[in-house]
């Protein structure tokens, strides 16, 4: 999925820094040291007249970017975190609220157990240390979408901390295996939504979303460019979908990412001033926003104006493809955290944790390693493992006896092409893993040829049915009897004396012509290998 997205962003019309895109195409990543040879080839490229982009060539390439990501995952529990209101995206405003999530006087929060279960699941999947005794805290600030005037969150004792996430960078961006640290994962509640009116003299508050449980994942500042950041986010999305804790949808807001970007000269251990970037609605905009921000900061550094980089929050503008100042941070906000007195401590038992650990499904990283061990190339591995449904289909096909290579090839070529054309997912197609396995076996066993196999596949994809049925119905069994093939070969040779003469005269390419004719005569059923062997014999014999 993420791999398709990068495809699209590469041809984006609003290229402010086209050279960055080109570099990526070549597999070189922007902010690392780049060999001089490549650098000089870039200077020949014609770019837009903006003076900023001209200066890009002169920017010293010895800066590195330091990127950290805060991800909010909205949990797909049936009800909210502290009350029993249900939640569904897009419902009529203020149709799913109660005194508790509205923060009415006298209302008290009661924790939804599923939130803990999902938090532990995600913490374990991110290889974190769990806090067996954690608590909730109040994070206090005033805003109309926060009914109580505080958010119930976790401050100093998050439920999980010190983990890591392994990702495989897509091959078109250099490939490779990367590990990013996870600082912490904690539970908190979401705020409501504010809807601003056109005129601007009033805003409306929708509290449907207030109290929905969130898990906040804070990464270590381990990412170094937009690609790594986007792949990290894509892997988080994969993970939460695999675990079933969230539908991880950036468009619906069930997965939200804020990034922090800073740059520093390579070799310096002290971090540069970090800038927060918000309003990132897709992985590709995340990647572009980060790269823009990196180049903005590096440019200021190179002009000796690094003091102009202030700790602030910037908004990514999709239209103009740049970040703009949202608000300057006047010092750090004081949230006056203190432990939530209305909720007891969250105490986990080893038994509980072990139970969840054993119930974890095979995670994307494990799958990728397993597929790699089967001998599949990284391209295949990433394609197959990264979509849970495709992986399941693939595994089911293998379970029926098919070999990995064949199954992978079929899925990635013909089946993927079909899905793309018809705009279907692998769950929508009529082909079943059993039939795919049967198809592979039939071809291997010589019952049908590869070419016939493709035809059968198409029918299976579109209409379903079974391989055996189709073979029988259409009489597609391969002809492997040498005697029969010889009969057809002889006949074709006899019917084409002119071509035979030309062949014998030196035009050996005509073998293909003969082969085609025999195929036609056999209605495509002749075994190609055998056909060509016999054909060659006959053509080259002196009789």
């Amino acid at each position: 999925m993420s791999y398709t997205m990068f495809r699209t962003f590469q041809v984006h019309p609003f290229l402010l820094y086209p050279t960055s895109i080109l570099k990526r195409r070549n597999g070189f990543l922007y902010s690392t040291t780049i060999p001089k040879a490549t650098q000089s080839s870039q200077t020949e490229t014609k770019v837009s007249t903006s003076s900023q982009s001209k200066n890009l060539y002169k920017i010293p390439k010895d800066y590195e970017a330091v990127i950290g990501i805060e991800t909010h995952v909205q949990l797909s529990t049936l009800t909210k975190a502290f009350c029993n209101c249900p939640y569904s995206y897009g419902s009529f405003p203020n149709s799913s609220i109660c005194p508790v999530c509205m923060g009415l006087p006298g209302a008290l929060p009661v924790l939804n157990n599923k939130v803990i279960e999902f938090a532990v699941k995600l913490g374990l999947a991110l290889n974190c240390n769990l806090a067996f005794n954690s608590k909730f805290d109040r994070k206090q600030y005033f805003y109309p979408d926060l009914p109580k005037g505080y958010q119930i969150s976790q401050f100093d004792v998050p439920i999980a901390a010190s983990g890591f996430l392994d990702v495989d960078i897509p091959l078109e961006f250099g490939g490779g295996h990367k590990r990013f640290g996870i600082t912490r994962v904690h539970m908190e509640e979401d705020a409501g939504k504010l809807m601003h009116t056109e005129k601007g003299n009033y805003s409306q508050v929708d509290l449907n979303r207030a109290g929905v449980p969130l898990l906040e994942i804070v990464s270590e500042p381990d990412m170094r460019n937009g690609i790594e950041a986007a792949e990290y986010a894509a892997e988080i999305q994969r993970l939460v979908r695999y675990l079933g804790v969230s539908n991880g949808n950036m468009q619906e807001g069930s997965l939200r990412c804020d990034v922090n970007v800073s740059v520093r000269p390579i070799g310096q251990s002290k971090f540069g001033t970090k800038v927060e970037v918000k309003n990132l609605n897709s992985f590709s905009s995340m990647s572009r926003a980060i790269d823009f921000e990196i180049s903005r900061q590096v440019l200021l550094h190179s002009q000796g104006q690094e003091d102009q980089i202030v700790q602030e929050t910037r908004l990514w503008e999709e239209g103009s493809q740049r970040t703009i100042t949202m608000r300057k941070k006047e010092g750090l906000a004081d949230y006056r955290y203190f432990p939530e007195p209305d909720l007891p401590s969250v105490i986990l038992s080893q038994e509980y944790v072990d139970g969840i650990q054993t119930s974890l499904p095979e995670l994307p990283e494990e799958k990728r390693r397993r597929y790699e061990k089967m001998g599949l190339g990284m391209q295949d591995v990433i394609f197959l493992a990264n979509d849970k449904n495709i992986a399941e289909f693939f595994d089911a096909t293998l379970a029926k006896g098919a070999d990995a290579k064949s199954a992978a090839n079929w899925i990635m070529s013909d089946i993927a092409a079909f899905m793309k054309n018809e705009k279907l997912t692998i769950n929508d197609i009529k082909l079943t893993p059993e039939e795919l396995s049967e198809l592979i076996a039939s071809i291997k066993g010589g019952i049908i040829s590869g070419k016939i196999g493709k035809e059968i596949l198409f029918e299976l994809l579109a209409k379903g049915g079974s391989v055996k049925e189709i073979i029988e119905k259409k009489d597609l069994v391969q002809i492997t009897d040498p005697v029969e093939i010889e009969k057809m070969v002889v006949k074709v040779i006899e019917e084409n004396p002119k071509q035979l003469e030309q062949y014998r005269g030196g035009k050996t390419k005509l073998q293909g012509y003969f082969a085609g004719q025999v195929m036609k005569a056999s209605k495509g059923k002749a075994n190609p290998g055998l056909l060509n062997k016999i054909l060659l014999e006959k053509l080259n014999s002196t009789t």
Binding site: L104, G106, L108, F142, Y143, P147, K148, F338, P341
Partner: protein
Amino acid sequence: MNQKARDTNLMVQKQKMNNVAEITCSASNLDEEDEVTANPWDVSRVPGGSSGGSAAAVSARQCVVSLGSDTGESVRQPASFCGVVGLKPTYGRVSRFGLMAYASSLDAIGCFGSSVADTGILLHAIAGHDRFDATSSKQEVPNFLSHFDSASSLESKPLKGLRVGLIRETIEDGVDAGVVSAIRAAASHFEELGCSLNEVSLPSFSLGLPVYYVLALSESSSNLSRYDGIRYGNQVHADELDSLYGDSRAKGLGSEVKMRILMGTYALSAGYYDAYYKRAQQVRTIIRNSFKEALNQYDILISPAAPSVAYKIGEKKNDPLAMYAGDIMTVNVNLAGLPALENSF
């Protein structure tokens, strides 16, 4: 709580014409603009607070029993001033769902009655676990009503075997002489009824007042944030969001409440949290442990409910600290989460 009371056929009658102190923030029930609640025994004196109205109603025989809330003293102190029985149950015994929160870790709903038995009956009707209150206790409520013996059935020394501890720090300096002699008289009365009575020292006792005020004000400053005029209440229109909040709350909240919010916010703010809130919680643990220890040696501990009798209306108006100081007798109990009964002799 209303639900439980209804379940036991208790008549729930709304308070008539009695001022409910603004968000239970008053020890004298005097801070409201409209009517003044007076002590039925002497209408020139305060009934106590913050549940002064409930106490006065029972005292004036307007109702048999009534409910109040006790965060630091708000049931026991007015009970003492009005000469009725006031009971604060163990924290968590009665659900807080529906109670406008003041200090979440200290609030408890309490009962007033003219006799201990009546008060007990009310408690029994409202006690028990509530799944809408995560801090409410899951412990079974025993049928303690069955242990209420009528006076006529009692033998001459009915309290024989009961170990009573009189907290020494409550009869020392700062307490009215009249109050000290009253409590001593009560103590000897206890002894006549057969119990063994000794003075017990709780060295951390005096720390209760500052600890209580830091914690209660901090928690309440947070609990009162929801009164912002956005969803209900008066909203003052303004051009900026901050002004809307500021003006609505400035106009809508009384001066005592505003003072407490400011103090609580200060105690929780960056740079002060450790010195105030965190420190207070740590001392609270010490206080709790000292009570626990004392209750290993004694079955009940006794003390005056207030360091003075009901003061005159208007007497402490300009001296909030003096008013706060009056809570010294009762706050430790809330900090420790213990139950306490105020009874007037």
